[in-house]
Amino acid sequence: MIVGLQRTSRALFTALVLGALFGLWELLVQSGVIPAFILPAPSGVLLTAVNSFSRIAPHMLITLAAVGYGIASAFAAALVTALLMHRFRSVRIVLYPLLVISQTVPLIVLAPLFILWFGFGILPKVLVVILVCFFPIAVNTLEGLDSTDRDITDLFASMGAGGLRILFSAKLPAALPHLFSGLKIAATYSMIGAVIGEWLGGTKGLGVYMVRAQKAFAIDQVFAAILYISAISISLLLLVLFLQRLIMPWHKEARL
């Protein structure tokens, strides 16, 4: 009961402060201190978002498909890679530097190359999403596997468990919190990845929609698209959090 109340009042407080911030922004634009073509008023953005939903929706579905395939493949690939890197020193030695290097190549340069190599279909977008999501999941999971308490693996070994059993029954569960940290990062950035992929070339999707809106000086529509992108990213994040609570009930600290 008290917890419930606290929660409500906390949400209320957040809403109030955020409301005040947005109110100030609205005021600044309405009063002309900030010209609307530089920063549209939040009310305008909201209105545009609602009004153009039916126009944005088909683009959104295209982007979501890329995100869905991307996260799923990144997750599977990252898990396998982390397990292999953990188990085989040689795989780790070769792959780890490559992975880190891959993160230092600007997406904005890579995405056009992907399109060059793989055409205008969904594939290059999915690849960008994978590129964004793979690294945090793989590296976090690997860190989790590496940092499993030596005593716990010893316990399994002393009971005659083999290497694979230790990997899957001891190390993988111990690595779950890390894995979920990686997934949370992946969820946060996956939409951005897909949008950048589209931004740099494509026929449909939120990215394409935004470029067009921007070049047509429809800044309210750019912001409306941002609104949808943020909303989807946050929903994905909450989904991961929900999954974590579901899968790791013993872990009391599952938070954002």
Partner: protein, 288 residues
Amino acid sequence: MNFFLNNNAAVMEKTEGGGSDGFQDRQTSALAPSLRVEGIKKSYGNLKVLEDVSLELNPKEFVSVLGPSGCGKSTLFHIIAGLDLPDAGHIFVEEDEVTGRTGRVSYHQQKDLLLPWKRTIDNAALPLRISGVSRRRARERARELFPVFGLEGFEQSYPSELSGGMRQRAALLRTYLFSRRIVLLDEPFGALDAITRGQMHEWLCSVLRDLEPAALLVTHDIDEAILLSDRIYILSPRPASVMGDVDLPGRRGIHRREALESGELRGIKDRITRLLSQGDNDGKNSAL
């Protein structure tokens, strides 16, 4: 404690492995030793931990290892269990060399090492799962033992919800379900209160009588060592070597508590205490 005696039948029924062909006396020690530890040396970096440790454990024998804190007892057990390699020396189990090989002895570690992601019942059932028993069957087996270990009602709790003593009992239950013919126990009763400890002692004696494993126990409680053991090894401070061993007369277990409390074993206790302090006076180490 009456509780335990009442439940012996149940306990017996459930134990696996280990020929329980009735009670035998300690004469069996004439046979080839169950466990032979030969000239083990071990250093961590510049820190010499084990100097030259050799000991033997005969079938069905219960032997305690006493030694000052930090002398290397846990390290020795790790090596016997095959989890660590010694710098020199060999481990033999039933005449097979097993240095660096795991799975041949049951090892109860000093920390409870319950898996935070498994409920208490699944933690307890872990050894059964590892040896291939189905989840349902493993849980059933484990559940039956929860009352015996005073954990009834906490089957579905996660380890983080248990107190220190309860965790240790859960770990003991797990070790119980991984019975081998050789059992290593590293301070298994460290976090238990006096009463529970006493009850665990009695229960341990009855289990030992049924399973007849050979057991090696690390403890820092001299009374406990005297109560439970056929023989006691005394280790020197770090770097550890065997300073001597003390044979205990008669049968171990409940009977011996009276002897202990009546002061009958005073002489032996004094001898152990002297041996232990001797290591100190040698000035080998600056510990108290």
